[in-house]
Subunit: 397 residues, 2 copies
Amino acid sequence: MIREQTGARQSSLRATNLALVLRTVCASPDPLSRAAVAGATGMTRATAARLVDDLVGGGLLDEVERVVLARRGRPATPLVPGARFAALGLQVDAGLLAARVLDLRGRVVAEQVTDGDFVGSAPVPTLARLGGLAADLLAGLPRNLRVVGTGLALPGIVDVDAGVLLRAPNLGWSDVRPADLLAPHLPSGASVVLGNEADLAARTVAETAPGRPGAHRDFLYLSGQIGVGGAAVLAGRVMSGSSGWAGEMGHVCVDPDGPPCRCGSTGCLEQYAGRHALLSAAGLPLDAAPGELAARVAAGDPAAGRALDTAARALGVALAGVINVLDIPTVVLGGHLGELAGLLRPAVQDHLDRRVLSAGWRRPTIAAADTHPAAGATGAALRVLGDVVADPARRLS
Amino acid sequence: MIREQTGARQSSLRATNLALVLRTVCASPDPLSRAAVAGATGMTRATAARLVDDLVGGGLLDEVERVVLARRGRPATPLVPGARFAALGLQVDAGLLAARVLDLRGRVVAEQVTDGDFVGSAPVPTLARLGGLAADLLAGLPRNLRVVGTGLALPGIVDVDAGVLLRAPNLGWSDVRPADLLAPHLPSGASVVLGNEADLAARTVAETAPGRPGAHRDFLYLSGQIGVGGAAVLAGRVMSGSSGWAGEMGHVCVDPDGPPCRCGSTGCLEQYAGRHALLSAAGLPLDAAPGELAARVAAGDPAAGRALDTAARALGVALAGVINVLDIPTVVLGGHLGELAGLLRPAVQDHLDRRVLSAGWRRPTIAAADTHPAAGATGAALRVLGDVVADPARRLS
DNA sequence: GGATTATGTTCCAGGGCAAAACAAAACCGT
DNA sequence: ACGGTTTTGTTTTGCCCTGGAACATAATCC
């Protein structure tokens, strides 16, 4: 007999409503009162107040000083997400290591980002170095801050459930269990959740703080790194696929007769719009900044212009295919593609208008992510805090 | 103030559990007893029995005669989905009109399928004719059968919420509101839910009866019609995109330098693997059966072989892209592609193995749907009955 | 024919929310 | 200054739903 799903009981009701209240407060751009929570959720003030009290008791919500407000009636007690809860977000990328502590309000409590070249590095020392960064960060935190978990963003294919990095081409890693290597540096018993870097970067676009919706809720995120990663976000949730390996948009085939890709296929998007591909097609060194390419295009350099056109065409073809399948007509460009968004947009838009079937009804839009460095680390922390927001009852008990 | 979501109350709890019980019984291949429901859901026998009693009272579950079973203890009362509830599924396709009544047990209570050529037909008479079919069907039903709603499968882009068929290229229809045209023939007050034909056909793969899981739960469905439609199914749910326009896999670009498509793009999958494209590339008339093509390939006809190879390559390229983005490594072929699945599989599999990034960890599989004619009509009925299973409380009150 | 066993039912207690009355703390007007 | 008004937060009461345990039922087994 297969357990379909567990039946809901009174405590489930409570857990659901606690989550709803916390989510409502987190989602609001400015502090809500108990009465406002009741209004937003349709609950009675009595019920909302009781749930809020419990959340405040557990530290998941804080009552803050009321600012002067010229309004009639008894003054409200403003509620904000609890500052005591935080999560550690880590990131390993080809060019950097990052550790960042984010609290439930979405504030960066502490961070440490170090540049470096980790292409072809060995997993053990690299993760040990990252663990060291994390340990330093945690040691300097206020005593009363509760770090509820750790997330780690990795540039490759990750088996989330098993906690294994299967393959990270840019790092040259495969079959690594980072949690085991990080454990010595983290507080004992701390769990480490893995995630794909693009998925987690996309999450920072979907939510600006734990539970707070960002500028877009439905979009395709394209992360321009050495390769090209991506993620599809629907209703604010990153689609991770049936095994969490989704979002490899860099290997969508743009031209079956195109150049071979190291993945074994031919004509992958990455071969046209990846950072290395773009720069070398423009005749620039591989470590040049995207801004340099933009400057050359502006100066009328024909090779640079051609490289950009080729990339735009490839992006258009690949994205149109994805949009036709998923019906998500908003594209957010991150990484070097975000920096070049201004130059890429006209041509990409043109291709999308022509190749997306529903373009006549809803024209696809292209936006640039305002990426901060190491967005993956922030996303990893958001991922952990998202669990807290989704099930606060577990933290109360 | 935006209403986040409504708070859960006692009645929500009950509604959730009623749905859970009904879903559990529907999902089970053979009848369950009250105690078995309790076991499967983790509820106590008392609670499960109470919920079952309510569902039986409302006709959503039936107690059936117990067959002799050599087991100790008080004999159980077998429960099955209620036979009183049914839904009407309709379908308009380029080659047929169909009306089918499906009950909650997934049995076809009545059906009527008529062939015809509706390419370039006028919406009003065609839908009137379909309405006539439906009316005849409904008139002949047993008096005690409750038809809870109507679903309509259409071969085109549908705005589900607005109830508008935006564009159906094969029919030559655009901006049609079928509900208005069907209403005169249906019982007054009956609602008509629209859906894309491929989405609904995919649903028949995902569930064999209302709430009963089919052979696959996560798969890409490709429906070979005149064009090529499709749907992505994740966890048994058809992904309809942010506006319900998803699944247009026929217009994924396979080769940007390929032949122009009537959609305005170039090198769409449909131009290689669509029924017309395949047949004409093989030198067959457009109304030939897929079996004829298969026969020619078997006989060693070079043109037919080339057509099939081209289609397989295009399918491989397009599907690999989708699998890389969505991580759904199971493909189910329907329509003429299903009939040719045996011949297509080796080459498509080959392309997928090479182009899917995660193929090394989980090899993509290709299956053929055992399509019955007018699967869209069945899917449309399943869609309506799915609402009943999802919220039985509404039917009790 | 009694013991055993599994199913279905009945009864009571506890937890959680709704509704309404009540208390509190501000602003407004005279 | 002081009562009226208004909005927020709290308390009380009642209802609904599930859990748990005891009981009733209907078969098989020995």
